[in-house]
């Protein structure tokens, strides 16, 4: 009997654990689910008192890509994709170069260099925006995609910590062996270290690729009213400005779903490295 009681107690505790998790999952997933439901809704009114759409439709998605007179979503998507590809290539290269140097090469000003980067990182990223805007203006790069690429990739070097942490873990004996065989530092970098660094390269590529999709503030300041150069974040926000929200809310939801799906997949792919990256910074200088 007492065994049965203990069994019962276990069952109850187990049930409570799972119930709690289920309730929390609902709270966390409900807005996401509801976003998707909204994107499939025919009624355009954003302020409704029910959750399931009265009529399901894919029209919002169709409109998003075809009805481009006021809001040219395909254009924003291509803009963001272009910026993302270029800034991801440049940033990744810069980050790998800087993190490898600071991890493996020894030169007089190394400590100083790292400290300067640390201090630069403490300024709010947005603070320099005004000056950057004027600099880009001088080069006729404001309101251009090139300007955005420049901004995203030039700041990337400050986020070298994770990649440096990775390079720190590659045994130095490999470098020494290669040096004895007559390999130059350049050869070691390209032929030995980089081929061993696939995880960190993938991680850096994915993270720098995601950045332009989720950045709102820089793109907003650089592009201002130039709507054919907007990125998805800027464009979608304009879609639900006060005058448009009644008409375009469901289309806005569809836009978010379209942007989110690839990002969710990319994030899931890099999840493991992502966690390792955030926590590895904790023990390595």
């Amino acid at each position: 009997m007492s065994n049965f009681k203990r069994f019962l107690k276990h069952e109850v505790v187990d049930f409570l654990y799972h119930l709690l998790l289920a309730v929390m999952s609902v709270i966390w997933l409900l807005p996401v689910a509801w976003l998707i439901l909204n994107s499939l809704r025919l009624e355009k009114d954003p302020y409704i008192a029910y959750i399931l759409p009265k009529t399901f439709t894919l029209q919002n998605y169709v409109n998003l890509f075809t009805n481009t007179r006021d809001f040219d979503f395909p254009r924003w998507f291509m803009n963001t994709l272009t910026v993302a590809i270029f800034s991801c290539l440049i940033s990744t290269l810069l980050i790998l170069m800087i993190s490898y140097t600071l991890s493996r090469l020894r030169f007089p000003a190394r400590r100083l260099y790292m400290n300067i980067l640390l201090i630069l990182g403490m300024f709010p990223g947005f603070m320099a925006m005004v000056a950057v805007y004027h600099l880009l203006n001088l080069m006729n790069l404001t309101q251009t995609l090139t300007g955005l690429v420049v901004i995203y990739s030039s700041g990337a070097a400050l986020t070298y910590y994770v990649a440096k942490g990775f390079f720190d873990t590659i045994p130095r004996s490999l470098d020494e062996a290669a040096t004895l065989d007559g390999a130059s530092k350049n050869t070691i970098f390209w032929r030995i270290t980089l081929p061993m660094s696939r995880p960190i390269i993938t991680y850096t590529i994915i993270l720098t690729f995601i950045a332009p999709w989720v950045d709102f503030i820089f793109a907003n300041v650089i592009m201002r009213g130039k709507s054919d150069k907007w990125t998805v974040a800027v464009g979608l926000r304009n879609m639900i400005e006060r005058n448009n929200v009644l008409e375009y809310f469901t289309q806005f939801c569809a836009g978010i779903v379209v942007v989110s799906i690839p990002l969710v997949i990319l994030f899931m792919l890099t999840q493991k490295n992502y966690v390792a990256g955030v926590t590895s910074g904790s023990t390595k200088g």
């Binding site: 799972h18 929390m24 320099a128 030039s154 873990t169 989720v214 200088g285």
Partner: protein, 458 residues
């Protein structure tokens, strides 16, 4: 390597070498103080000498054609105001451009920047000239230009790898930051906008206004600062506690389908923040769905003002929703990686599950996640997205100088630049944020410094 100075015992500290070029050098290394590259060229390093000479020539050309023009106005930031004169011939008012303070400031800083870089090149050129002389005197082999290029691929490889990232940082991070810091000491507000108007240096006037002399601005500063710190502490603490609790819950041995639960929460991280925030904003609107549903259920009669009266609570709750899965994701990995022998020895010592949790799991978790906590706190001080996209600083109040109750320093800064054009205010706020963040990071990182040296991990 075969040309290294160490091998010949000729290596000296950089500055002593520079002085040595004057005191112990020959006529050519001394000439190198005036004509860059002379020391090298005299010892047969012609290509190197010519390169250095070319650098000197282009710097001088740059200074006379460009640098001096702006530097001469640096002290005043321009004196000639833009005017309009009546042009009789074409019968219109014609704008006569004056000095542009913004350009003067920017280009002066650029010139100073380039001069500093040139100074470094100059310093180095004297040194390498003297190094060539030392080699000559010691009868050591003189590296050819090809050798020098090769050494770039080897023991000077850091130059190759760092040049590009450093130039990018200098141009688009360092220069802009210095430019903004300079702006904090000017009167560049809405009424002094170039090119129509001039602005000039005002010393610490802006900081004085923020701290005490301008009642409205200083009140706003202290209140916004107070809210920023309250927000950062509360947001960090709630997300951390919630996330750790969730991670521990999922990690519990008796919970089935761990990966499924984890994925549920991770999905919400992966949706871009701007998207979920804009969506939630619509949801919480005065006539948004949440209010309508509550009204239909008869639970409230008036809509709850989530985004105005109760905005401070709303942003904290929504931030909790956003932040908990993130902390959960980070801490789950750590929880699973706690060394098993820690538990083992505790069990042998007769510790129960609660003691183990209190004395081992929690301290370990806290120790490993301390840097994460610090970065989270700093991130929350500058948490632009949540505030800007959710409430946009609302509710606005006349008590504040162009700010609202939920504005953080960073969103106030944003408004001062983009909406109000008070760049001097914005820059001063930015400097205050920098001081807060750097002092806080310095203190906390030193407290939690694990004492492990980075070299030990290599």
């Amino acid at each position: 390597m075969k040309h290294s100075l160490e091998k010949h015992g000729l290596k000296e500290p950089a500055f002593r070498e520079f002085v040595g070029a004057m005191t112990k050098g020959d006529v050519f290394t001394r000439l190198g103080f005036l004509i860059m590259g002379a020391g090298c060229a005299a010892r047969g390093q012609i290509a190197k000498g010519l390169l250095l000479l070319a650098a000197q020539a282009s710097y001088i050309y740059f200074m006379f054609s460009f640098g001096v023009v702006y530097l001469s106005d640096f002290a005043t930031l321009g004196t000639v105001e833009q005017t309009t004169v009546w042009d009789e011939a074409v019968q219109i008012n014609r704008v006569v451009p004056g000095d542009n303070s913004m350009m003067i400031l920017l280009f002066s800083l650029l010139t100073i920047f380039i001069s500093l870089i040139f100074l470094y090149v100059y310093f180095t050129s004297v040194r390498v000239g003297y190094q060539a002389l030392k080699r000559h005197r010691a009868g050591a082999a003189m590296p050819t230009f090809i050798d020098d290029l090769k050494s770039l691929w080897n023991d000077k490889y850091h130059f190759v790898l760092l040049t590009l990232p450093t130039l990018g940082l200098l141009a688009f991070t360092v220069l802009p930051i210095i430019f903004m810091v300079a702006m904090a000491f000017t009167n560049l507000d809405r009424n002094h906008q170039p090119p129509g108007n001039l602005f000039t240096w005002v010393g610490f006037e802006n900081f004085k206004e923020i701290f005490f002399s301008h009642p409205l601005k200083s009140r706003t500063f202290y209140r916004v600062l107070g809210w920023t710190l309250t927000w950062a502490v509360t947001a960090t603490a709630t997300c951390y506690i919630g996330g750790v609790a969730l991670a521990i819950l999922i990690n519990n041995k008796r919970v089935q389908l761990k990966n499924m639960w984890r994925t549920f929460f991770v999905i919400t991280i992966a949706v871009p923040q701007f998207a979920s925030l804009l969506f939630i904003r619509q949801l919480l609107n005065d006539n948004g769905t949440l209010n309508i549903v509550l009204q239909n259920l008869g639970m409230i009669t008036e809509p709850i003002k989530f985004l105005s009266t109760h905005a401070r609570i709303t942003v904290l709750v929504v931030n909790f929703w956003i932040g908990v899965p993130y902390t959960m994701l980070i801490t789950t990995g750590i929880l699973m990686n706690i060394p098993e022998d820690l538990f083992e020895s505790a069990r042998i010592d007769g510790a129960g599950p609660i003691t183990i949790f209190r004395r081992i799991t929690l301290p370990y978790l806290f120790f490993v996640t301390a840097p994460f906590l610090i970065t989270q706190f700093v991130g929350n001080i500058n948490n632009f997205n949540v505030i800007f996209l959710l409430t946009n600083g609302e509710p606005r109040t006349l008590d504040y100088f162009q700010a609202g109750k939920t504005d953080l320093l960073i969103t106030w800064l944003y408004r001062q630049t983009v909406d109000e054009q008070n760049f001097n205010m914005a820059a001063s706020i930015g400097i205050m944020i920098f001081i807060i963040v750097s002092v806080f990071s310095l203190i906390t990182f030193n407290i939690v410094a694990s004492g492990k040296k980075e070299e030990e991990f290599q």
